[in-house]
Symmetry: C2
Subunit: 361 residues, 2 copies
């Protein structure tokens, strides 16, 4: 089979040129006589790969020098726990703005360590909108304010960086990092699992304003201490080298394609195509999210009934459009349109949607 268009929410589609390069080098990387998977993370060869990945990510996103960039094992959930351990005193108040499933998960990770104050909650509205900033109840003494920049299940995305006053803003950017220009200086911490826009699962990127590393946080193992990771260039322990390397190849590809400005253009185009197909379907396809905060990355939508939904999932797969089944928490269909999904993929989806509606509408 040839490669299909893959709409998986994560782990997600990767750029084919990146996979081809990784494939070509898998048994002998750069002529060293071994795979990149098999060489020491402390070798000059791997350190060069790691350093270039950091430099390329800094260039791609525009990360100022007063921010540390860490590449750590695992995904975003571990970082959610580490935020409280590193940046809040035991029991200190932290503010969370909940706009979907992942905001709730983030709270679950920190509850043992801090006093969680939900400053705003989209759940009463079914997570169909982001509570207006004016109504947020921020705490005067919060260690930080946490948001989820894009919610992959509910399809809700912050389209502007909120002003939260003096507390640093921490944001889970797992599903929208590097998808459009970003003013990093507005944030205290930006973190992201790589498996959506940045590369393969198994490595997370954490971008930390360096002054925050001076906070004492709370008692924690060395391996949970961002200061230790920063002091050792993310090599406190053996990092996930292959995953880091593959993310680095994705960064190179993104820069070569034109950087985040170009991906912002493509992502806007892809998501507009799909939303227009939904909104123009006369109600056959429905998306419930308020237009101003509709996600460009993950588009959940619904068909008239379960039978049609199941048929859509099955027939789209046969047509070479993979992983369109919605998350079990909400059902329906979900199309994830990350950086590595080409515009042609969105066009193929829209063509399929129109054809499917004609046959079943």
């Amino acid at each position: 089979m040839t490669r299909a268009y893959n709409f998986s929410a994560g782990p997600a589609t990767l750029p084919e040129p990146v996979l081809r390069q990784a494939q070509a080098e898998l048994l002998d990387w750069n002529g060293v006589g071994a795979s990149i998977v098999e060489i020491s993370h402390r070798s000059a060869e791997f350190i060069a790969v790691a350093s270039r990945a950091e430099a390329d990510l800094r260039k791609l996103i525009g990360i100022p020098e007063d921010y540390a960039v860490l590449f750590l094992s695992g995904g975003a959930t571990t970082q959610q726990a580490l935020l409280a351990l590193n940046f809040a005193a035991p029991g200190q108040v932290v503010d969370y703005v909940v706009t979907g499933h992942w905001g709730k998960t983030a709270i679950r990770q920190v509850k043992p360590y801090v006093t969680v104050h939900v400053a705003a909650d989209g759940e009463p509205g079914g997570f169909r909108d982001i509570p207006p900033r004016a109504g947020w109840q921020l705490s005067p003494d919060a260690a930080y304010v946490h948001i989820t920049a894009n919610e992959t299940i509910h399809g809700v995305e912050f389209r502007d960086t909120p002003d939260v006053g003096t507390a640093p803003l921490f944001a889970d950017f797992s599903s929208s990092i590097a998808s459009e220009p970003l003013d990093v200086s507005r944030y205290g911490v930006i973190y992201a699992g790589a498996q959506k826009n940045l590369g393969p699962v198994g490595v997370a990127v954490v971008i930390i304003r360096r002054d925050l590393l001076e906070r004492s946080g709370q008692p924690r193992a060395d391996i949970f201490d961002y200061r230790s990771h920063a002091a050792r260039d993310s090599m406190l322990n053996t990092p996930p080298t292959w995953n880091w390397y593959l993310a680095g190849l994705v960064f190179q590809w993104m820069l070569a394609e034109g950087g985040v400005e170009e991906f912002a253009r493509r992502n806007a185009l892809k998501s507009q195509l799909v939303y227009q197909a939904i909104d123009g379907s006369g109600g056959f396809y429905r998306n419930h999210v308020a237009p101003a905060v509709r996600s460009r990355m993950n588009i959940p939508f619904f068909l008239p009934d379960e039978t049609l939904t199941a048929r859509f999932v099955s027939e789209s797969k046969d047509a070479g459009l993979l992983a369109l089944k919605g998350h079990k928490a909400v059902g329906g269909i979900r199309a994830s349109l990350y950086n590595a999904l080409p515009v042609e993929g969105a066009q193929a989806l829209v063509a399929f949607m129109r054809d499917f509606q004609q046959r079943n509408g």
Copy 2:
């Protein structure tokens, strides 16, 4: 360049047939139209890969049904912290037997959470031997006793499972798991980063006697809770799917080659070859570890001076013998002889050692 013999201490050499299969499948796994790196961990396809990996590991090592097997992001260091969080009450006494660098690291991870009692310490003897069991000062009320089955830097390996009484025995098997038959039932927890004998870096295996999961431990994030990981079959969050898949291919290869009995035979042969070359060199090569506890996995040895050491490292690399430079903590040379290093690799090393001595002795 062709593939060299790779003596890296980890990330380490992988079986060439495994890399060839991963290479062939990297753009289209099993005809699904996407890479295994790009499909959902919750897809039927990946769940089948994950389940088979667990079943194969159970078969390979002989893991009883009353043990849970987890595949978690990252390496052994994170697990070291989680041991205390999951299995000891706040401040409870835990016993550590220190036989090298990694035993000390293990202690650093738990100090914020428990009262560490060093029951035996090889450091006064330069980590050249394992303190005799009779001299261990075990605590009557320890939550557990921790050992490092094999020390990769100091080259010291437990050749028998110590009897530690009623407290469960926890062991870091990162560098010797699946290298010979093992009686899992003697242990409460066995954990290992995969990157030495089991596969690629980025995934750790944790084998836990299930009754221990009933311990309340101490306050911790959900992502740090082994019970949560066990209840969700290691898919509490997105697992490092490619790393897990590649480890699974290594398990299949090991079973096809004859299982741990066969690797025990090969590993004994390889390490004997190298130790004989050292011991038979008339003092040109020296290993300081007591013969009864010499590691079969990692053999540190020393040449008469720094100049010869540097020359050995350089010339061996040119001869296609990679990563023989010793760890910076001890210097000298280190040959790691994990499962995937073929017997021919050890033979080539020994031939090189003899030739080098002839030319420089």
